[in-house]
Amino acid sequence: MSRLLILPVFLLVSLLMPTGLKAEESLPDLEALIRQVETQYNGLSSHAVARMDIQTRNWQRSLVMEFWSWRRDRFLTRILEPAREKGVSTLKLDNEVWNYLPKVDRVIKVPSSMMGGSWMGSHITNDDLVKSDRIDQLFDFTLAQENAEIYQIVCQPKPQTVTVWGQLVYTIDKQHLTPQQVDYFDEEGLLVRQIFFDQIRQIEGRSLPLRMTVVPHDKPEEQTVLTYEQLTFETELTESFFSLRQLKQR
């Protein structure tokens, strides 16, 4: 009899405890904040056209791409320009990433060892693209600084989390609840790269930064700028749109 009671009571207590604590300290829910920032471009589903300008020491180029997403789990992007690479597509299915190469009409899976590698030659990694690092779930948060304009949140990986990052620092605009800047540190605490967000616009009732600039810290003369040209949410897309078959067909 007593055994039957223990479980519900335990559950009740564990549910009440954290929320009770949060209310007392009147802290913002950091996890929710980060989750919102991390999923700002996703929504339930989204469709976008963006332009990517990449500047490196050896070359520079621009790509125009179309994006589709479904929750956080499925993601498809296709190159529209330049013509030589038109149709090259990337599909994220849960935790797997596939590339479709129209020139040779083949699908190639990105091995997990290369998820940290560059996506399409930019300073954005495959990991960034698919948000396979679920920051809000895999990291612990502390509020490092707060003033009238911003929250600064330090994210540290939970002990069991496997990630290349030692620490992330988010600077979040209080008014719009959009990110201004994210600093990425490696396991030795050295700054690796920074992402800056700006050009905040209202889109379907959400405030969103339409421009994202990625700067690697060791090569400050290089950068990747991703600018959203069109962005719509809650499209008619369904989960089945994001499949390997679709990847090949289009």
């Binding site: 030589r84 690479e85 590339n99 190469l101 020139k103 190639i108 899976k109 091995p111 030659g121």
Partner: protein, 411 residues
């Protein structure tokens, strides 16, 4: 006169002389054989490290060998410079290297693509199977894939591979390759990540037309590659076109420092081996000569009594010993040379019991095999002469100090 006397003295007791002689000959001959096999192992390791993949001397832009930076390229026409047509260099081959994602039947793997000239590369390294007729293979490029990489990608000869990487202009490079052959270099690290492709195909893929990363060379005397590399480096500025980029000439010793250490440590172990073996031989010789001096006390006393100077007597004994040593050297040279020659020609195959051993950046094939090297003969033979001199010095001194009156009276 003294020499003749010494020679006759040696054969006055043939059994004693022959015993000493055989001890010297056997130890020196076996030492020559052991050093030959040792050198053979070193040559095997060195050739696996250099002749399979790197080459003995490599010319590239400064910094390329450590960074493998795609953009550190130079003009492939530099392969035709007259600078390279000098004695000592037996062949050279241009190469371009890229890193790419490869996909086979289902799995994909990161890999190193080495673009080679299929006609010239086999003259420098051995990974590429001898040039194959082009027939049958169609539009796409041909690839020779490391066996373990092929296994991971689940492909065999004739299968297709998808290559995806980033070209030098930033664009997304992708193409198909057909597996033309597999190789097994014995170095698992290499077999797991390397594939050879045609140079022009890779230049096209990477948008680097006419560009290469390396000139790999084969030289006639690999152990002296460092000297040759230095010479080439000095002559380079006068040969390279004025607008040419700076190039660096590296020998295998700089590319594979651990290999150079292994070879340096071989020289030390060779010295230790010689020392140990000859300490034993020297004691034997010392014993024989002491006994013979004791036995011949009467004779020496007579010589001294008839007016021979003690110094001359000492020299006589030393000369006897030196003669014995020379004779032993000659026989050891013949005998040891014959043994080494047999091991160089036939060798002993151990592949039934052990596999190749990876060591110091190279791999050691499972065989015992000797090579001829001048040092391996000179050192044992010089050691032999030295030992016979040193070991006879004490007995000779003793003989020279004999008091003729005492000796003669004693008998």
């Amino acid at each position: 006169m003294l020499l003749k006397l010494a020679y006759f003295n040696l054969w006055r007791n043939p059994r004693r002389t022959l015993l000493t002689l055989s001890a010297l000959v056997v130890s020196a001959a076996l030492l020559i054989l052991a050093l030959g096999i040792f050198s053979g192992m070193m040559a095997d390791i060195l050739s696996s490290a250099t002749e399979q993949y790197r080459g003995h001397i490599v010319v590239s832009r400064p910094g390329y060998q450590s960074s493998r930076d795609l953009f550190l390229t130079f003009d492939q026409h530099s392969a035709d410079w007259t600078l390279w047509q000098q004695p000592g260099i037996s062949a050279l081959a241009p190469r371009l290297r890229a890193f790419a994602l490869l996909s086979g039947v289902e799995d994909s793997q990161p890999a190193e693509l080495l673009g080679v000239d299929v006609d010239r590369e086999p003259l420098v390294t051995r990974l590429l199977p001898a040039v194959q007729p082009v027939g049958g293979v169609a539009v796409s490029g041909r690839a020779w894939v490391g066996e373990q990489l092929a296994r991971r990608l689940k492909v065999g000869v004739g299968d297709e591979l998808v290559v995806m990487t980033q070209a030098a202009d930033g664009s997304l490079a992708n193409d198909l390759l057909t597996v033309a052959g597999l190789f097994n270099s014995g170095d698992t690290g290499r077999d797991r990540r390397l594939l050879l492709v045609e140079l022009t195909w890779l230049q096209g893929l990477m948008v680097l037309p006419g560009r290469i990363h390396e000139l790999a060379m084969r030289v006639e005397r690999p152990l002296y590659a460092a000297q040759l590399a230095r010479q080439l480096q000095e002559q380079l500025p006068t040969h390279a076109p004025a607008k040419g980029v700076a190039l660096e000439v590296d020998d295998w010793g700089r590319l594979l420092p651990q290999m150079q250490e292994a070879i340096a440590s071989y020289d030390v172990s060779r010295a230790i081996l010689v020392l140990i073996l000859y300490s034993a031989a020297a004691l034997g010789v010392l014993n024989t000569f002491y006994m013979s001096v004791l036995e011949r006390s009467y004779e020496f006393g007579m010589l001294l009594a008839t007016g021979m100077r003690p110094r001359r007597l000492k020299n006589l004994i030393l000369l006897e010993s030196l003669l014995l040593g020379s004779l032993a050297s000659l026989l050891a040279l013949l005998f040891g040379g014959a043994l080494t020659h047999y091991m160089a020609e036939s060798g002993i195959d151990l592949s039934d019991s052990i596999g190749p051993i990876t060591y110091a950046g190279g791999s050691l094939p499972p065989r015992l095999h000797a090579v001829h090297e001048v040092g391996n003969y000179l050192i044992p033979l010089a050691g032999l002469l030295l030992v016979s001199l040193v070991a006879s010095y004490l007995p000779a001194r003793r003989a020279a100090r004999l008091q003729p009156a005492d000796v003669l009276r004693g008998n």
